[in-house]
Structure formats: C-alpha cells, structure tokens
Amino acid sequence: MDTIYSVLGAILPFEAYQFNFMRNAFLAILLLTPLLGLLGTMAVNHQMAFFSDALGHSALTGIGLGIIFGLGNDLVAMLIFGIIWAILICLIRQFGSASADTVISVFSSTSVAAGLLILARGGKFAKYSSLLIGDILAVTPGDLFWLLIALICTLVFWALLYNSLLLTSVDSFLARSRGVKTILVEIAFVVMVAVAVMLSIRWVGVMLINALLILPAAAGRNIARSARQHAAWSVAIALFSGLVGLTLSYYLDTSAGASIVLISAMCYAVSLAVRSIRK
C-alpha cells in the first residue's frame, strides 16, 4: 500500500493528494467508476434506469433486515437483500402483466418504507443518515481490496455475458431463437448491478448511486455510434467526473458524491449539445 501511496504522491502533485484518505478515495474512484460506467451502458440500453434507482433504495431495507436478523455486517446484509430484490423485480417484470415501471415503483416505495420503518425506530435514524449521502473519504485499504476483486469478477462475467445481453436488449424473442437463455442472462445482469450498487453505496450514498450508474452511460450514448464507443465514452466520462469531482470537492469543501454527480450531469449536457450539433 505504501508503494502505491508514494506513486500516487509523485504523479498527483496537488495538495489534496498529500493525504492518505484522499489517496484511498482516488483509488476507490479509479476502481468504482469504470465498473459502474460499463454496467451503466447496458442498464441504459435495457431501459433499466428506474430499476437501478429502486435497487439503490433497497439498501435501506437490507441494512434494516440485517439488524433484525442480527447480521453483524451491513454490507453482507445489503448484498443478500439487494440480490434477492433484484431477482424478484426481474422475474415479476418477465412474467407479470403490469407495466415495468409500475412494478418497479411498487418495489421501490415498499423498500424505502420498510427500511425507514426499521432504521428509524425510536428516532435513531441519524445514525444511518450517512448512508443517504455516502462518504467516499471513509474508504479503507481493505475496502479497496474488495473493490478490486469485485471489479475483476464483474469484468469476467461482463465479458462472458455481454453479447447475449446485447442480443436480448435488441429483441428477446430473436435472442431466444439463437439459443440465448434470456431469463438467466437478465438475472445474471441484475445480480451484477446489485453487487456493484451495494458495494458503492456506502461511499456514494443511496440518493446519488443511480446517477453514477446512469449519467455517464447516458452521456456516452449521445456521442457514441457503436457498442465499443459507448463503453469507451461511458468509462471515460465516469472516470473524468469521478476524479475531477473528488478533487474539486476537496478544494471547495463540498460533498464528494454530489460534486461527482454534478460533473457527470455537465458531461451529459455537453453530450446533448454535441448530439444536436451533429444532427
């Protein structure tokens, strides 16, 4: 870790990065943003922006249930509940007759209400309010290790599943006729999104996590013409917003998560302008 810190100190000659907590946050963003940027491309193509928003909200219930069942580890509780929640929404979307956004809205409001009910018992919610806005400066070297593992696992699954997912998002009937197990592929995808969202939520916060997943991919989509360009732009915009947002938040003394998301939103505005000029 010391070697990495000294390398970072050498390549980042800013006052902000003389501190180890900022270096940790920098590394976390280096790992997190490409992960969310890549997954975001398919979430956007699959029209799942609202879905991932609901998933983020379910973190509250996850932690709440973790407390009830006596799970010592918040992250494990969030992961388990997030994955189950994601699969449930996915299956109901597949087999239910109600429209997708209605189903997702029901799930989203239920999980927020259940989470608040449990966490705010006896007026104790203040303890969990950091969960809403997140704290990227709280990243520890141990967290970084798990983030790296998550990034690698996601990349492996992403490589294996991507083409099948792409065909499914174009036309699921056509995908099935070409031997794609569309339901399994979709479930694997929502589980990946659930894991990525739950891992990042402590640092980015329930309120902003979805923006980080969707905004870079949505901006990239305005500029890109091919799948490769979409992935490249999305990751580039996510990384750019992450690093610029983090650095600015230090100097302006603002919330890191909010700064990052605002930079992403600016990138989105620019991408819209580029798109309208091209047309």
Partner: protein, 249 residues
C-alpha cells in the same frame, strides 16, 4: 388428416397441438415443409400462425411430433432453425452498428472490446450474401425496414439452417425494399439446401412466389399449390371472397 410419405427431405409436423390456459391455440396441425421449397402459411389474425412458428422454434410446449426426415423417411437427428422476426422492437437510439449486432450473434468475444479481423471478415461475408455489406458501419437504429429485414435474414442464415422461418417479413417495407428482400430470399432458396416457411398476409405475393400454401385456422383448413388453396371453399370462408375474385382485382 395423415399425410402420405413423399420422396423429398422435409420437416414433418404430425398432429401438433398447443393449449394454453384451457384455450386451444392449435389443434392437430399436420403438414410437410419441404427442402428447396417456399411454403407459405396464410390465415386470419389469431389463426395460430405465430404459435405454430414458436412451436417449430422450440419456444413453447406442444403435443405431437416434429421430425426432420430425409428422402427415405429416415430421421435426421438435428433440426437447425433460422428465424426472421416480423420486426424488431428495439430502442433505435442504441449505439450499436450493424457490424456489432451481427458480430454479437456470431462470437463470444464481447463486442464492446471491438470486432477482430477474422470476425470482421466473416460479418462482411455474411452481409454481402444479402447485399447489405454497405450497412456494416451504420447504426442498427438507422436502417430502413427493408435493410433491417435483410440484416435479420443474413443472421438467420448463419449458421446455415435446415429450416428458415420468416414471420411476416415483408409487412411495413417499402416497394423497393420488398423487391430486394424477395430477390435475396429466392436467391438463397436456389443456392442453399433448406426448407423455408414464411407467414404472409400479402396474397398477391403468395400467388406469385409460394411453392406450397397452407391455410391455417387452429388446424389446417386447406393445403396445396396457391391455385388449389385459393380456389378452395375454405379459402372463401376465411377471407370472405374467392381466389378468382382476388385475381380479377
């Protein structure tokens, strides 16, 4: 009715029935789809045409037997199907080129990492078989109806199928696009050894191009050459007019 054995390799549908939720969608459909022939399925909306296609593609549960048999009536173990949907309902703003789309169906290498030289050549070859090589770099969402159908046809032909199934591929295509699509299809019929099953509402098209016509309404009402089926009383009953009147128009 049981069908007599014939001398060509074909796909033999023997009393195919599909029920869902107490409703009969198909009842005892028996027919042959011959190699080297264009078999056209006609019938009103709700006659079970798409259900039959889905059964053939193995996407829903049915009773009865679908066999792939050679000229001597012996089973051929595999039936490889290719499918061209009626239209794609997809997000036309998706950043995805025709090359990405075709490559994603051919290889495991994720197309966001790019398309390798070998696959690129393969995609070009596949597209050129349907006169669509110039579309490779175009976003899929910007293709016209006819262009999209040719790309889908190219995809359905790879790997080469024993049975090519097309679900109303010519609806909603402009005249030029339609002509080009049909020429490509007839060309493939000549050059490839496969059976083609096509659903169509366009009776003029059916009369002109079909080798064999099957009139469906839950079960097979009539089958034979276009002239035979169009002249049948069942045809008049379903469509409300006889084939002769249609010709006079």
């Amino acid at each position: 009715m049981p069908l007599h054995h014939c001398e060509l390799c074909h796909i033999d549908l023997d009393r195919i029935s599909v029920r869902r939720g107490g409703q009969i969608l198909l009842q005892d459909v028996s027919m042959h789809i011959h190699c080297g022939q264009l078999t056209v399925l006609i019938g009103q909306n709700g006659a079970g045409k798409t259900t039959l296609i889905r059964a053939l593609l193995g996407q829903l549960r049915y009773s009865g037997l679908i066999r792939h048999v050679d000229g001597r009536g012996l089973n051929i173990p595999h039936l490889r199907t290719g499918y061209v949907p009626q239209h794609l309902q997809f997000d036309r703003e998706m950043p995805l080129t025709v090359r990405d789309f075709v490559a994603a169906s051919l290889t495991k290498r994720p197309v966001w990492t790019g398309v390798g030289k070998k696959v690129r050549a393969q995609v070009n070859e596949i597209l050129s078989a349907v006169n669509a090589e110039s579309l490779a770099d175009q976003p899929l969402g910007r293709c016209s109806g006819g262009e999209l159908q040719r790309v889908l046809l190219a995809l359905a032909m790879n790997p080469p199928p024993d049975l090519l199934v097309l679900d109303e591929p010519v609806s909603g295509i402009d005249r030029n696009g339609l002509k080009m699509f049909l020429e490509t299809l007839l060309d493939l019929k000549k050059t490839h050894h496969m059976a083609i099953l096509l659903v169509s509402h366009d009776l003029r098209f059916v009369r002109e191009y079909a080798d064999h016509v099957v009139l469906l309404d839950k079960s097979v009402l009539a089958q034979g050459s276009a002239a035979e089926v169009f002249a049948s009383p069942e045809f008049s009953a379903v469509f409300g007019y006889s084939g002769e009147e249609e010709e006079a128009e």
